[in-house]
């Protein structure tokens, strides 16, 4: 495909999002269908075209993987987008961008409104990055949207793809226990995230992100819900050993991590 065709598709998609918006709001969001049994494979890096559109995509990737460096003003902690959306936003069950782009606009119970993708991304800045949302018109936002659009090339629109979002675990057999969770944390997580959840740095760079404390996600974030965190941990942690904790262990360790101190929910913070 040529660069121009891409740029055009991108514009068409943006336009479609605007046009379709009232439609999806009328039926309460896209169909909740699983598409096939295969996990979607996003296009390879080598396919990113030359020219302004390709540049925007590459910029989006830089912001995504080195958020503190390339979108400094909007970030309030030591995480990057990739800290939770693994493999540069590609890994299934870590809310991959290819699963997201085709789903928006959609209704979200969190704020009882139809949300667009840029608003969803703003949410991650405000809560998961404990920062300030970049304006919809900012270059930062445009680059992130272009990057998401690029990654969803070839994915069916308006449906829930397999591996989209985080895994929803079945209700735990017994109530998640902070005490059991602590033991699991010490045995399987502290090696990387530290005994105090502080993460680890090396040669001036953050290697393992903090999972609690004032440099981690705040109490308004998606992962501050034990169920969400349990699903994330189950499929993604310990790094490279996803799906090795039992469901119950994932619930327990999530309960422990989310019982630790972290920044307040900005919705509840007094406005300054």
């Amino acid at each position: 495909m040529t660069t121009r065709l891409f740029a055009r598709n991108f514009l068409v998609a943006m336009l479609a999002a605007v046009v379709l918006w009232p439609v999806s709001s009328a039926r309460g969001g896209p169909l909740e269908v699983m598409q096939g049994t295969e996990i979607f494979t996003p296009p390879p890096d080598s396919d990113i075209p030359q020219g302004p559109f390709g540049d925007l995509v590459r910029k989006g990737e830089k912001i995504f993987t080195q958020t503190g460096r390339f979108a400094r003003h909007y970030v309030g902690n030591d995480l990057t987008c990739e800290s939770c959306h693994l493999n540069r936003g590609r890994k299934a069950y870590s809310a991959p961008l290819w699963g997201a782009y085709v789903l928006y606009p959609r209704f979200r119970s969190k704020n009882h409104m139809v949300n667009k993708l840029d608003e969803r991304i703003q949410g991650c800045f405000r809560f998961s990055m404990n920062g300030t949302p970049p304006p919809v018109t900012s270059q930062t936002m445009k680059a992130l949207i272009a990057y998401s659009f690029w990654m969803s090339r070839g994915a069916p629109v308006g449906v829930k793809l397999k591996g989209q979002g985080m895994l929803t675990l079945p209700k735990p057999g017994s109530t998640p226990s902070v005490l059991r969770g602590r033991k699991i944390y010490v045995a399987r997580c502290a090696l990387c995230h530290g005994m105090h959840g502080q993460g680890r740095t090396s040669h001036g760079g953050q290697v393992f992100p903090p999972v609690w404390g004032n440099r981690s996600y705040n109490k308004g974030a998606g992962l501050y819900k034990v169920a969400k965190l349990a699903g994330f941990v189950k499929m993604n942690m310990p790094l490279s050993k996803g799906d090795t904790l039992s469901d119950q262990a994932s619930w327990d360790v999530a309960a422990y991590v989310d019982s630790q101190p972290r920044p307040a929910n900005p919705r509840k913070r007094p406005r300054s």
Binding site: N87, A187, L191, C192, S202, H203, V207, L239, S240, K241
Partner: protein, 223 residues
């Protein structure tokens, strides 16, 4: 295993950055062991295979250990002693080391400095590119994260328990990846390296060994 790991972590965290003033007797003893062994029957000087400056010997696949975190060095010696890390050459050498000997020599080498020593035989530049890709991007199809996600930027290590691999000799790197893949080395926390090495192809293992051996080792001020 899990309990051992947690205790280890606690200890590692407490002693991660000790103050060095006053540690001189231990350093001196470490130098002695490295240079001449500990004096007990059968003891061998480490420098015979790792050099006094810790640069290792690429020709026999003996690793560079200069500047590795002292906790890591001490831990590996203990694991070789305990038989969890298969290392027939090392096993014969470290058997009679006391815990104090191990602490001393680990401290000594963690503070040693050595430039990268040349590898034997020509390198394969086509493999370096593939190795770099895996090292910095991973191979997620097989659930392999980028090596630098655990070994730190440029493979410079993340103390106390993630060793640096940049600038290590090629023969040793490949040998370790094989040892993890075929379970001769079983001392890695939570089986992380065993899992990763096992999921790699032979070509991929060679490629990352080529790549990391082509880099400069880190310059470390704090062990």
């Amino acid at each position: 295993m899990k309990v051992v790991l947690s205790v280890l972590l606690l200890v590692a965290e407490i002693v991660a950055f000790p103050a060095w003033s006053g540690a001189t007797p231990l350093m001196d003893w470490g130098l002695h062991v490295a240079k001449e062994g500990n004096g007990k029957p059968g003891s061998t000087a480490c420098m015979e295979c790792h050099r006094l400056d810790g640069g290792g010997m690429p020709s026999i696949g003996s690793p560079r250990i200069a500047g590795q975190p002292s906790q890591y060095i001490a831990r590996e010696i203990r694991e070789v002693k305990a038989g969890k890390r298969y290392g027939p050459v090392m096993a014969g050498v470290v058997q009679n080391l006391s815990l104090r000997d191990i602490r001393a020599v680990a401290l000594y080498y963690s503070r040693a400095k050595s430039p990268k020593l040349p590898d034997v035989g020509p390198s394969d530049p086509t493999l370096v590119g593939e190795g770099k890709h895996i090292a910095t991007r991973g191979f997620w199809k097989k659930n392999i994260p980028a090596c630098v996600q655990c070994h730190g930027p440029n493979g410079y290590g993340v103390p106390p328990l993630f060793p640096y691999i940049a600038g290590q000799n090629r023969t040793y790197l490949l040998r370790q990846l094989m040892a993890y893949a075929f379970l001769k080395r079983q001392d890695d926390p939570d089986g992380l390296m065993r899992g990763i090495a096992r999921r790699m192809t032979m070509t991929q293992r060679k490629a990352v060994a080529e790549y990391f051996s082509s880099l400069k080792p880190p310059i470390r001020d704090v062990p």
